[in-house]
């Protein structure tokens, strides 16, 4: 079967770690973020932190092919080419593995565009802490590629993955969407 080209972004990776259902809904254009205060707070943290970085624009938009049917797209908000360092700012470190995977995604994009051995740093200004991500090695790269393939496959399926049913659901922008149901009278 011939598939149209699928685009995967850093947000996809992030959601893949948070909840596959959320990823599926997001990928199919069912967005809820516009009415979530939590996400809004996240945006403010970003904007505020950038305002303090006075340097010229270090944003970088990149694309690369994963395979014949899948394209990777990413916007790195802050990249320092001399130090080969990617900066990311996050509100909380609750799902740090998702943030690390997202950083690896940027490293892969850079590598595919000829810029190898980049380090990443994830900053948590509200927690006054940061996490460093070492450059990609053969193992982490293979693992990431595998995840991307799994993800693409899952998104090509017609059916929406089931509810996650964790306590995180309550804080998820999709909570109402996922949990609305009619109780029997």
């Amino acid at each position: 079967m011939l598939y149209p080209l699928m685009h995967l972004t850093a947000t996809h990776i992030n959601y893949y770690y948070l909840c596959r259902r959320k990823l599926w809904l997001f990928h199919h254009g069912i967005h809820m973020e516009h009415n979530s205060d939590l996400v809004h707070a996240g945006k403010l943290v970003e904007e505020y932190s950038y305002a303090r970085r006075s340097e010229c624009n270090r944003q970088l938009a990149l694309r690369a092919r994963l395979d014949a049917h899948t394209q990777l797209l990413g916007v790195i908000d802050y990249f320092d080419p001399e130090a080969r360092l990617i900066h990311e700012t996050k509100k909380s470190n609750r799902k740090e593995e998702a943030h690390i995977a997202q950083m690896r995604f940027y490293q892969l994009l850079l590598k595919e565009n000829g810029i190898e051995d980049c380090r990443g740093i994830i900053e948590y200004p509200l927690l006054r802490s940061s996490t460093e991500v070492p450059p990609l090695d053969a193992t982490t790269e293979a693992q990431l590629r595998q995840e991307l393939h799994t993800m693409a496959q899952m998104l090509r399926q017609a059916h929406c993955p089931p509810l996650l049913q964790t306590r995180w659901c309550r804080q998820c922008a999709y909570y109402d969407y996922c949990y609305i149901d009619e109780a029997e009278n």
């Binding site: 069912i30 009415n35 909570y175 109402d176 969407y177 609305i180 149901d181 009619e182 109780a183």
Partner: protein
């Protein structure tokens, strides 16, 4: 929190940076004191008086996702200015269209919508039976009509039954409120006070449903119970059926029974019966209060406003067309 603004006076609306400036203009053309509405506080605008505004303003409202609803001199809804759909998703649109195109799927969903509407109407009637209103016969009739939907072969038949249910239901109104007769449902124009209130409330309910649909991925022009094209946004008509008993009719009962609205609030002329401007203002105030009333939701386990119930219904419809979860209509449980 964002609010709906109701502009009853004629005037001029213009943009000043991120604020809207409204200058009322009286019958002699004299300008009154300007009012300023910060754009981030506006949920939507209802325009009852004649409004003078330019395309720059509408472009700006469009960018901000603000819907504008227009009413004529007789408080009759004439149309809405809708910003560009900003959330439409191909997947949902296709699924919604497929559900509409499949005769069986459409019929089943349409029947579900009537199920919700009927339940909510009966809920209102039973409440007043509890307070001594003689409504047992019409309740039995409505139940029988609902039963007969099970074998309705097509949408037209279903719509016919729905019309009968609603007719029987509306005839009960004069036993619920004192002092006003219903006679029969009259629309353009409504011929008496109850009909005027029903029409006015139903228009508000339609615009509410339209706004909620607009904030989801549903296409408001593809409907299931009503034929697309009956109104521009016929999906809003579908949803309104389910919510009118809770939102509109209970507002009417409460305002009439508490004598917040009285005979003197209406004006009966050759062109039918209309609400006096002060009465229309009272009605929208109570309407807004009702929309912000909250209820502990039984499956979400948190408080939600009546207004939000309509948004939740949109989510259910999306899940239904995507075959994530079958649609079960909202049924008032209180």
């Amino acid at each position: 929190m964002k609010k709906s603004y109701y502009l009853f006076n004629p005037g001029r609306l213009s943009r000043q940076n991120n604020t809207l400036k409204f200058v009322p203009i009286d019958e002699e053309g004299k300008e009154g004191q300007a009012r300023y509405l910060p754009v981030e506080s506006i949920k939507e605008l209802y325009v009852f008086g004649s409004l003078d505004a330019n395309s720059a303003l509408y472009n700006f409202l469009g960018q901000q996702g603000i819907v504008v609803h227009f009413f004529n001199y007789y408080e009759y809804y004439t149309g809405s200015f809708m910003p560009r759909d900003y959330l439409l998703a191909g997947k949902v649109q296709i699924a919604q269209t497929k559900t509409y195109l499949s005769a069986n799927k459409r019929l089943a969903l349409a029947r579900r919508l009537i199920e919700g509407a009927t339940h909510n109407m009966l809920k209102n009637l039973r409440y007043y039976v509890g307070r001594g209103a003689p409504l047992q016969n019409p309740i039995t009739q409505i139940e029988a009509l609902w039963q007969s939907t099970a074998t309705a072969p097509d949408i037209e038949t279903l719509m016919g039954i729905e019309g009968n249910i609603r007719q029987t239901y509306y005839e009960c109104f004069e036993h619920i409120v004192s002092d006003f007769a219903f006679e029969k449902r009259s629309k353009r124009p409504p011929e008496n006070e109850l009909n005027t209130l029903i029409s006015f409330g139903n228009m508000l309910c339609y615009t509410l449903c339209l706004r909620q649909i607009f904030h989801t991925q549903l296409n408001p022009t593809i409907s299931f119970l009503h034929e697309p094209g009956m109104r521009r946004y016929s999906l809003a008509l579908d949803l309104a059926e389910v919510f009118k008993p809770l939102l509109v009719d209970r507002t009417i009962f409460s305002m009439l029974n508490k004598k917040i609205l009285q005979a003197s609030d209406f004006r009966t002329e050759l062109r039918g019966c209309t609400l006096r401007p002060a009465a229309a203002k009272k009605f929208v105030t109570h309407w807004e209060e009702r929309l912000q009333t909250t209820i502990q939701h039984r499956t979400l386990k948190r408080k939600v406003s009546y207004e939000h119930l309509v948004r939740l219904e949109c989510y259910k419809l999306i899940k239904h067309v995507l075959e994530i979860q079958d649609y079960k209509p909202f049924k008032a449980w209180w």
